[in-house]
């Protein structure tokens, strides 16, 4: 609506306000399946940023030409194009990463985040706003993946590996391999959400108490 502020807001809202994993609880499959390490989470995030931004821009640019009744199939085609690009690039330049992620690279096409953003945002907003929205939501999602990947990798293997470096160099506790299995993923995400809820509840209570004190003071 009003120029620059709204553009900036379209970018920043993806990180906290409309955080895909914790607020909207969509795009769960890759969130759990590939977050066994920081590096996997990061590259998945990058792939999602690319696909989401490109598909948002395409959907937004074509929004006036798209008939309402067949919009979902149109979205799916517009999303599938960047996914194939990611798939082919990854296969060519990062074959090991492609092998680890396996079926989840083509599955970006049905990642609910992307179709949800097409439907809820890009289809109703101008191109530039949709671009920012894609970058923001994708960025927030990447941070989630890296954090969850970090927690699971650290507890599951005792160290976090970046490229050829590992931190800490030697695990100082007995790693719990269960963190790398599916149950570990579910429980980690569940507990993270619980902690987030506690934080939100606390801050709301504080705010309420402050407001109550302010009104009492008046």
């Amino acid at each position: 609506m009003n120029g620059k502020r709204s553009l900036l807001h379209d970018f920043t809202k993806g990180f906290i306000e409309e955080n895909a994993t914790f607020r909207m609880v969509i795009g769960m499959c890759p969130t759990l399946a590939i977050t066994t390490s920081v590096v996997n989470g990061f590259w998945m995030g990058v792939a999602v940023i690319f696909v989401l931004t490109v598909s948002n821009v395409l959907v937004s640019a074509l929004r006036k030409q798209t008939p309402d009744e067949i919009r979902i199939p149109v979205f799916v085609i517009l999303i599938a194009a960047p996914v194939v690009i990611v798939e082919l690039v990854m296969k060519a330049y990062m074959p090991a990463m492609y092998a680890t992620m396996g079926v989840f690279v083509p599955l970006i096409v049905v990642n609910c985040i992307i179709i949800a953003r097409s439907e809820a945002f890009a289809y109703r907003n101008p191109v530039l706003n949709s671009l920012m929205d894609g970058l923001g939501i994708g960025g927030g999602y990447t941070i989630n993946l890296v954090v969850i990947g970090g927690i699971r990798e650290f507890l599951g293997t005792g160290q976090i590996v970046f490229g050829s470096r590992a931190f800490p160099a030697k695990p100082f506790f007995e790693p719990a391999a269960v963190m790398l299995t599916p149950p570990g993923g579910f429980v980690t995400l569940g507990l993270l959400m619980t902690i987030l809820n506690i934080v939100i509840q606390r801050s709301e209570q504080k705010k309420a108490a402050r407001e109550a004190a302010a009104t009492a003071h008046d």
Binding site: V25, I26, G27, M28, C29, L32, A33, I72, P73, V76, I77, A80, A81, V83, V84, E87, L88, G102, V103, P106, L107, V109, V110, N111, C112, I115, V178, T181, P182, P183, G184, G185, F186, V187, L189, G190, L191, M193, T194, N197, I198, Q201
Partner: protein, 195 residues
Amino acid sequence: MKLISIILGGVLTSNFIFIQYLGLCAFIGLSEQMEIAVGMATAVIFVMTFASTVVAAVEQFILIPLGLQYLRTIAYILVIAGFVQLIEMFLKKTAPALYKAMGIYLPLITTNCAVLGVAMLNVTKGYNILWSTINGTAGALGWSLAIVIFAGIRERWKFMDIPKVLKGFPLALISTGLMSLAFLGFSGLFKGVIK
């Protein structure tokens, strides 16, 4: 033997939800009421079985002869989206009662990653049309088993005193984790019996 291992594998040892993480959005989103869960489960079994067949046929008769395997993702998702639409129209005309029961779930299935996921896995494993269909059915049965069990658990939460911070998604995820731990126990089932 391969038949048994595929069916039991799909339902238990490599359950779509608990072991492979496929179709989680619908699993978490639609498991609050048993009735809805059963409706979705029926729709998934129906669509996944036939979609696996159709997609395997497309792979074998169109993509491979033309050497277009690199367009697999686009081709599959288009076929699945079109196929779901077709089923919807077909059911509306021929079986209105069935359409009423699963109509609203059908559009949701297009974006259920389990359907595309099973199609992709079938290709990776090199199954032909028949085995793809069987694998699709087995995977769908496993998915349905999971959502029905989970809906049963969630229905009981209504009468329980749950801390506010755990309500909804956090508790759902933690319970799924515990169920998944139980399903992980099946993982050695075939060792020694089948290769």
